[in-house]
């Protein structure tokens, strides 16, 4: 009944249909992957550990962006701004206030929640294209804002802030890279678990209803304004937490790393991984961490050429991203199994 409206040409909608991962087989698969992830840092090089740590952070950011764009239909081309805010809040608190890094993560999240919610209020009046424009402008303006001389005292201006990599606590037998890996993995799992519950419940359905038919959602009694602003806020919170994680992992924040291309990377990750898909965030994160790694060998510009082509190609061929493809595969498998049973 709602399938036709929900999936009419909307690249995000097709993916939201699935309920497949709620079956036992999928839960076992998930458990296996988590066990593998816990074993990994003892088997691979420090550099790879660092890359995966970054990927975990990006996965959280992508889930945040996906909530806003994939599930709620609000296009943001400026999420790098929230990533930057999260990163700088963490950096400033550690550097200037001597705060313990673990404490900075939730604080960064809350600050971004507030900023995101406030930004979401005027953004309410902006539909699709105009919101994209406004967030694009935000994304472009961030590096300049971070270099602003009147806040240089705190932000460190163009040079940014340098942090020290923390050691594992309680004398655990882990090197700093391995410790940060587990911290990020833990935060990512917590955030994903929370996200899963939000998106699968009433809230998630309301978000999708607003995306697919705004006016109808209003008439059904959904307070669209509140939901949209809240979604913005929560999405910013996720991205801010991701920014905090990345600041701690990289031990360095500087304005030019938070330019428009960061925001565009997030878009690439979400599109490739799959709009309106929780699992897609992980795929997308791995994509945006490892493609530059591989492609930079060809040329400095190569990763971005690939991103550009992927963005366009995905819209033509794979509108539901990699996860969508996986889902279609699962559908076909199940259909075959069912047919087999009946015969």
């Amino acid at each position: 009944m709602d399938r036709t409206t929900a999936s009419q040409g909307n690249p995000a909608a097709g993916a939201a249909r699935g309920g497949l991962f709620a079956r036992h087989g999928s839960a076992l698969l998930l458990l296996a992957v988590i066990v593998l992830a816990c074993a990994a840092p003892f088997l691979i090089s420090n550099y790879r550990i660092f890359q995966l740590t970054l990927a975990f952070g990006y996965a959280v950011a992508l889930l945040g962006l996906n909530m806003l764009t994939g599930y709620n239909g609000q296009i943001s081309l400026g999420h790098g701004a929230f990533f930057a805010i999260g990163a700088y809040v963490t950096a400033v608190l550690i550097d200037k206030a001597g705060m313990h890094y673990a404490l900075t993560i939730p604080i960064a999240g809350v600050v971004c929640l507030a900023v995101g919610f406030l930004f979401g209020l005027p953004a309410l009046r902006l539909e699709g294209l105009y919101l994209a424009l406004a967030t694009f402008a935000l994304g472009l303006a961030v590096p300049q804002l971070l270099k602003y001389k009147y806040i240089e005292e705190w932000t460190g201006g163009v040079q940014g802030i340098v942090l020290i990599k923390p050691n594992a606590p309680f004398g655990l037998p882990l090197n700093p890279d391995q410790w940060l890996y587990f911290v990020s993995l833990f935060v990512m799992l917590v955030m994903f678990w929370a996200g899963y519950n939000i998106l699968r419940g009433r809230v998630g359905r309301a978000m999708v209803a607003i995306r697919d038919h705004h006016t109808a959602a209003e008439t059904m009694g959904i307070n669209t304004a509140l939901y949209k602003s809240l979604t913005f806020g929560v999405s910013a919170l996720y991205t801010g937490v991701a920014g905090a994680l990345s600041a701690i992992a990289i031990q360095f924040v500087a304005p030019d790393s938070f330019n428009i291309f960061l925001s565009i990377s997030f878009l690439v990750g979400v599109v490739v991984g799959g709009l309106a898909s929780i699992g897609g965030a992980v795929f997308g994160a791995l994509f945006i961490v490892f493609i530059p790694n591989i492609a930079e060998g060809i040329s400095k510009a190569a990763p971005w050429a690939i991103y550009g082509v992927m963005l366009i190609l995905c819209m033509y061929v794979l509108p539901t991203g990699v996860m969508g493809l996986a889902r279609i595969g699962m559908y076909r498998l199940r259909a075959r199994r069912l047919r087999g049973k009946r015969a």
Partner: protein
């Protein structure tokens, strides 16, 4: 007073650039209700083509015209091959495709021409013009002149030629246009071609000042957005007025408002954009659009 006049003239020069890019944006928006996020990068890429031609020994104005032709064809091809298949797709799809184009052109330029900053020649004399005690850059004046010539030619084309009329009709009412035999698809492609050429002019006029590098146009694109929105995204005249206004405003605010200075220029654009979108989305000269359920 002299400094003020100099800032105004400089502002008009950059304003002309903004006006050109804003006009390109509006031309495409009018016909398709889509904003071409890649307009700046396409203009930048065209400017690199011009640079290559000049480097190969062609005289400046020959390279200029050849670049216009190249940009026109490129615009038509992009519309026919990349944009047309997603014409009727939802907004998110189209925005993603445009961002993809932006990224692709940016990286293509970086790949082929490297990220090193290059100087770009100006066809205008270097010695500045002295009017009384006011010193005006010849490039600024020349820039304004070229912009005005291009804008006037476009105006005449759309107002007084049959093809221009057909393009206006196709943008406003595709159904009725088909009924009088206009090939609406090709009119759209032509619109993209013209937008590409106009963007190239903007790129070639600004490159001598900001130097040629792949990220040259991003700030300009932002200001062009601000200009188009300010003037009304459905109004070509508004885009032009908006462009010159934003150019002058940017310079005056940058010079005379102390806490903004030169460092927060992009934030000024951001504020204008959000301000217009929230307070008066149809801009000064645009039409108010009523949304049907």
């Amino acid at each position: 007073m002299d400094a003020f006049l100099q800032q105004v003239v400089a502002g008009l020069a950059t304003g002309g650039i903004y006006a050109s890019v804003a006009l390109a944006l509006v031309m495409i928006y009018q016909a398709t209700e889509h904003v071409n996020f890649a307009q700046g990068e396409m203009a930048m890429f065209s400017t690199y083509i011009a640079w290559s031609l000049v480097n190969a020994g062609l005289p400046y104005w020959v390279a200029f015209v050849a670049t216009l032709a190249f940009s026109f064809v490129a615009g038509v091809l992009v519309e026919r091959l990349i944009v047309r298949p997603v014409e009727d797709a939802p907004v998110l799809t189209v925005v993603v495709v445009f961002i993809g184009l932006l990224v692709f052109f940016n990286s293509l330029a970086g790949w082929i021409f490297s990220y090193l900053i290059k100087p770009f020649p100006s066809p205008f004399p270097v010695t500045p013009l002295k009017v009384g005690s006011v010193v005006l850059s010849m490039h600024s004046i020349g820039s304004i002149a070229v912009t005005l010539v291009v804008l006037t030619l476009l105006f005449l084309f759309f107002r007084y030629t049959s093809l221009g009329l057909a393009m206006r009709a196709a943008a406003q009412n595709p159904v009725s246009s088909r009924l009088v035999g206009i090939r609406v698809g090709w009119m759209l492609a032509l619109g993209w071609g013209l937008a590409g050429a106009v963007g190239a002019v903007a790129g070639m006029m600004v490159a001598p000042v900001v130097f040629l590098e792949p990220n040259m146009m991003s700030g300009i694109l932002l200001y062009a957005f601000a200009a188009a929105l300010l003037g009304g995204i459905t109004s070509p005249g508004g885009a032009v007025v908006g462009g010159f206004t934003v150019g002058v405003l940017e310079n005056l605010i940058g010079t005379y408002v102390p806490f903004v200075g030169n460092e927060l220029k992009l934030t000024v654009a951001l504020v204008i954009i959000i301000g217009v979108l929230v307070v008066r989305p149809s801009g000064f000269f645009g039409q108010v659009i009523v949304k049907r359920v």
